[in-house]
């Protein structure tokens, strides 16, 4: 439970583990997810995808398919008004460095990855749509491809795109590296590899589109980003105000529904047919087609003094973007900024590159580049501790960043860093050591810390808006374009509004995620919604409160500052109450609005010159420390996690239940990443197209996660909250790797930490 950090003001609702407003509907299965929607006369859609990772389309003939029974329309690239999609930051700015717009709605002459969309079909039934897609006459001529970032960067490598295979490069250089290494008492070198990972939300990509009675193309879709209505409008070449995206409650997102999925296809098909159209991907399609988490190759050289103090970090990062840019340049930026870890280091070099290949495209996934680096920097610091005989908690305490320190990129930390406390608490939470249950089993413990930005890069000028208003009976309405991916994004906003306006939580109605009817809130990504939309709601609620109290003050002949809103009444210090409906009627009479629309702008900044370490990249960071106790079977290499504790400074837990849920769920997703999940690709061909081979951990595979919620009150969000959506996925892989090393002395540097890899590290596979 939440640690007791005295924060002064007593809250009515903030800090209480209230069941979410959407919980009852979800357990009663009353929530209508994207695929649950059906409309009269609805068509069903299918996508024809490239079977080849690299090929030219030499023939694409749709006439036969078009004549198949039930077929309404067959579309190819030439039917798309504007066939390029920009990987933009929707609704905000486009000035994001080397980002290029290079995604096609449908492939035109060339396919660059297996699963790339080539044609669309809408038909009366799903079977008819699939049959027609299969009947499209398409011929490919395979073209040599590149299937790894190293190969892509080699001289003479086939080019995935005209401009060459380097998609983005970032560099950081701080301090005199050679001099720093010369001072070091110990230098640890390591090469680390992380794998291709799928978001694997249990709800596949899905949506329904129709043309509304007023001619607006309306798309009800499972998305983390309703602002993609602009992408749809651009592709369809219609004004942006003629496209509306209604975001459903998502059956999980994790970054997998951050980029465009079905919405452009649906918009096109609805526009061409004038009929409602539904598209739901199969699991195979989802695993084939959706952008994934980047695999990284990371080379580290870390120097430390005998005290454990890190003095030098030399880091090379290489990531695989797959065939299209998506958000890779930004993902790499996150890696670059976080590469040295949440630690002080006077001399740092980071050289980071991301290359195009003909592998499945990679883009956003929970952790967004700041999580792959954790495996490397936490494995490094653990080896430094071992080399110097230092305690793992102590060595992190020695190096931990503090307020006022600057990151290698030059950003000065303006808020409290609770790292030493987090590490100590996570470590202590493991309790007494578990004795090994058998002679061939060893038990060990590992610690891993991390920091993850929350909120967008400052030069993206992030903003969110929200509307808060009273109905005449004193019930409250919140409108905010926030997509709820299942993390309780919407409910927390209701809790904040109810807190400020003194109404019970069940007197709040929340309207979310509609690009036409709710104020835009930006994406549910980057751990930003509580921070951004929380601040927007807080601002709107406070303004509204002032409006209401000023009217109440005139009715009561009191000073507005002496009034409070509580339990649906205006109350005075001396205990008089005025029912809210009375005040609201008076508002109507005197022309004072009973609602307020607020826009919250995050602190903005200019793009930094990374090489010279010129300053701020992210608004702020969330810090964490996880501790794992594992047993390792020294005959098989099998690893079982016995105990797990995860501590984060969340600034303020608006809803501790949701905070714990994010920590527990993120930690287990991180354990899946650390221990078993991997999309295996051979020469661009994805072998992992079902849940039989993409291994999501089951209840039998993971321990209970003990969530340790620390509240420094220092975050930039409402009431001092920090973002907590992504941070918990960072440390688990490293914590387990460090625990394996603690148990056995064997260090595994490649994820996932399979039994076979552990066995190899233990020397069991030598013949």
């Amino acid at each position: 439970m939440a640690s007791a950090v005295a924060l002064g003001t007593p809250f009515r609702l903030v800090g209480r583990p209230l069941p979410r407003h959407d919980a009852r509907d979800k357990v009663a299965a009353a929530t209508a997810y994207a695929a649950d929607w059906a409309m009269p006369g609805m068509l069903h859609a299918a996508v024809l995808r490239s079977p080849y990772p690299s090929a030219r389309i030499v023939k694409l003939e749709t006439a036969g398919a078009q004549r198949m029974p039930g077929v309404a329309v067959v579309l190819t690239a030439k039917d798309v008004p504007r066939n390029t999609l920009s990987t933009d930051v929707p609704g905000q700015t486009t000035a994001v460095g080397p980002l290029r717009a290079t995604l096609y709605v449908l492939a035109l002459e060339r396919v660059r990855h297996q699963g790339e969309p080539v044609a669309l079909v809408a038909a009366e039934t799903l079977e008819q749509a699939r049959a027609a897609a299969e009947a499209i006459d398409v011929e490919y001529e395979p073209v040599p491809g590149v299937f790894g970032p190293e190969a892509a960067l080699a001289p003479g490598a086939p080019r995935v795109h005209e401009g060459g295979n380097v998609l983005a490069e970032w560099r950081i250089a701080r301090g005199d590296l050679a001099a720093a290494f010369a001072r070091a008492a110990v230098v640890v070198e390591g090469e680390y590899a992380t794998q291709l990972v799928d978001a694997a939300s249990l709800e596949p990509e899905a949506g329904v589109a129709w043309i509304d009675s007023d001619g607006v193309i309306t798309i009800r879709v499972s998305t983390q980003v309703i602002e993609h209505f602009r992408d749809v409008a651009e592709a369809l070449q219609v004004p942006q105000n003629r496209v509306r995206v209604i975001g459903t409650y998502l059956g999980g997102g994790f970054g997998g529904k951050e980029d465009v999925t079905v919405e452009v296809y649906l918009g096109l098909l609805a526009l061409k047919t004038g009929r409602p159209v539904r598209m739901v991907w199969t699991r195979q399609e989802s695993l084939l087609a959706r952008a994934k988490r980047h695999p990284y190759r990371m080379r580290y050289r870390t120097g430390a003094l005998a005290t454990g103090e890190i003095v030098a970090q030399q880091i090379e990062l290489l990531a695989d973007a797959g065939a299209y840019a998506y958000l890779s340049a930004l993902v790499l930026l996150y890696s670059t900024v976080t590469a040295a870890g949440p630690y002080r280091a006077p001399a740092v070099r980071v050289e980071a590159r991301v290359a195009y290949t003909n592998n499945p495209p990679t883009s956003a996934m929970r952790g967004f580049g700041a999580m792959q680096t954790v495996f490397a920097y936490e494995s490094q610091i653990d080896q430094i501790a071992r080399a110097l005989g230092l305690d793992p908690v102590e060595v992190r305490g020695v190096n931990a960043l503090r307020r006022g320190d600057s990151l290698p990129v030059g950003q000065v930390l303006e808020t409290h860093v609770a790292l030493p406390e987090l590490a100590a608490r996570a470590w202590a939470a493991l309790g007494p050591p578990t004795p090994p249950r058998a002679p061939h089993v060893r038990v060990g413990r590992g610690l891993a810390c991390n920091f993850q930005p929350y909120g967008r890069i400052v030069w993206l000028h992030d903003w969110s808006s929200a509307w808060v208003g009273f109905e005449m009976d004193g019930s409250l309405v919140v409108r905010c374009g926030v997509p709820d991916v299942g993390g309780g994004q919407a409910s927390s906003l209701g809790q904040i509004a109810a807190e400020v306006l003194g109404v019970d939580f069940d007197r709040v109605s929340l309207h979310i995620s509609d690009s036409a009817l709710t104020p835009l809130a930006g994406t549910t990504t980057a751990s930003r919604q509580l921070y951004m939309s929380g601040n927007a709601v807080l601002k709107a609620a406070r303004e509204l409160r002032a409006q209401i109290l000023s009217v109440a003050a005139s009715l009561l002949g009191a000073d507005p500052t002496a009034l409070d809103l509580a339990d649906g009444d205006v109350v005075t210090r001396d205990g008089r109450t005025l029912p809210l409906p009375t005040v609201l009627s008076q508002c109507a009479r005197v022309g004072v609005p009973r609602s307020h629309l607020a826009v919250y702008h995050a602190p903005a900044g200019e793009p930094v010159d990374l090489a010279t370490g010129s300053g701020k990249v992210f608004p702020d960071y969330t810090f964490g420390a996880h501790a794992a106790e594992v047993e390792v079977d020294t005959e098989t290499g099998a690893v079982r996690v016995l105990k797990y504790a995860a501590a984060h400074d969340v600034g303020r837990a608006i809803n501790p239940q949701s905070v714990e849920g994010q920590i527990q769920g993120g930690a287990v997703q991180g354990l899946g990443y650390g221990l078993m999940e991997e999309v295996v690709v051979e020469e661009g061909v994805n072998l992992t197209t079902s849940f039989a081979s993409y291994l999501v951990p089951s209840a039998a595979d993971v321990p209970d996660v003990d969530p340790i919620v620390v509240e420094s009150g220092e975050g930039l969000g409402p009431f001092g909250a920090r973002g907590i959506g992504e941070p918990p996925i960072g440390p688990p892989a490293a914590a387990v790797a460090n625990a394996i090393a603690d148990a056995t002395g064997a260090r595994v540097t490649r994820l996932p930490l399979t039994a076979e890899r552990v066995a190899a590290a233990l020397g069991l596979l030598r013949t």
Binding site: A28, Y33, S201, G252, T282, R283
Partner: protein
């Protein structure tokens, strides 16, 4: 080949005329309008589509309605009684065991079958019973907590 079938779902008998190759999941969602049962992987590899057949959890994506003429099928829509949530549903809502909520129907039904069989299961027994239901959001801890809470409440008369 279409078949005229009589399916008893949540105590109600439905006469449907459906292609025989439609799975129970498809018939529930598309022909009976019971969309509470969710589609996860369509190959029996995730447990999302779990329903009860004669109180036993099965995968509706791999069940053929033609085999279920004499069976009592329970979906998540059949858990609440007269608008009153089942104790499992109540506990899941209270403890935050449903996050995105997509795996929740299958997990609720699997847990209902467990509690019918073992009213006071150990935490390990709950884990084993739920080992066929993937959840991507919660990390399972709160799900296990909620099943324990529901078991406690059902066991103790209120």
């Amino acid at each position: 080949m279409k078949a005229r079938l009589s399916l008893t779902v949540n105590g109600e008998t439905h006469d449907v005329l459906v292609p025989v190759h439609k799975t129970l999941l498809e018939v529930l969602r598309e022909d009976l309008g019971l969309t509470g049962t969710k589609h996860g992987c369509e190959l029996g590899e995730c447990g999302t589509c779990t329903v009860l057949v004669d109180e036993v959890p099965v995968l509706s994506c791999l069940a053929l309605p033609a085999d279920l003429a004499d069976a009592a099928i329970t979906t998540v829509e059949g858990m609440a009684e007269g608008g009153r949530l089942h104790p499992l549903q109540q506990a899941f809502a209270e403890l935050g065991a449903a996050q995105c909520g997509y795996c929740t129907p299958g997990i609720l039904l699997t847990a209902q079958a467990l509690l019918a069989d073992r009213p006071s299961p150990t935490r390990q027994e709950i884990k084993e019973a739920l080992a066929g239901n993937l959840c991507r959001c919660t990390g399972y801890t709160k799900i296990l907590d909620a099943v324990e809470l529901a078991a406690l409440r059902v066991g103790v008369p209120r």
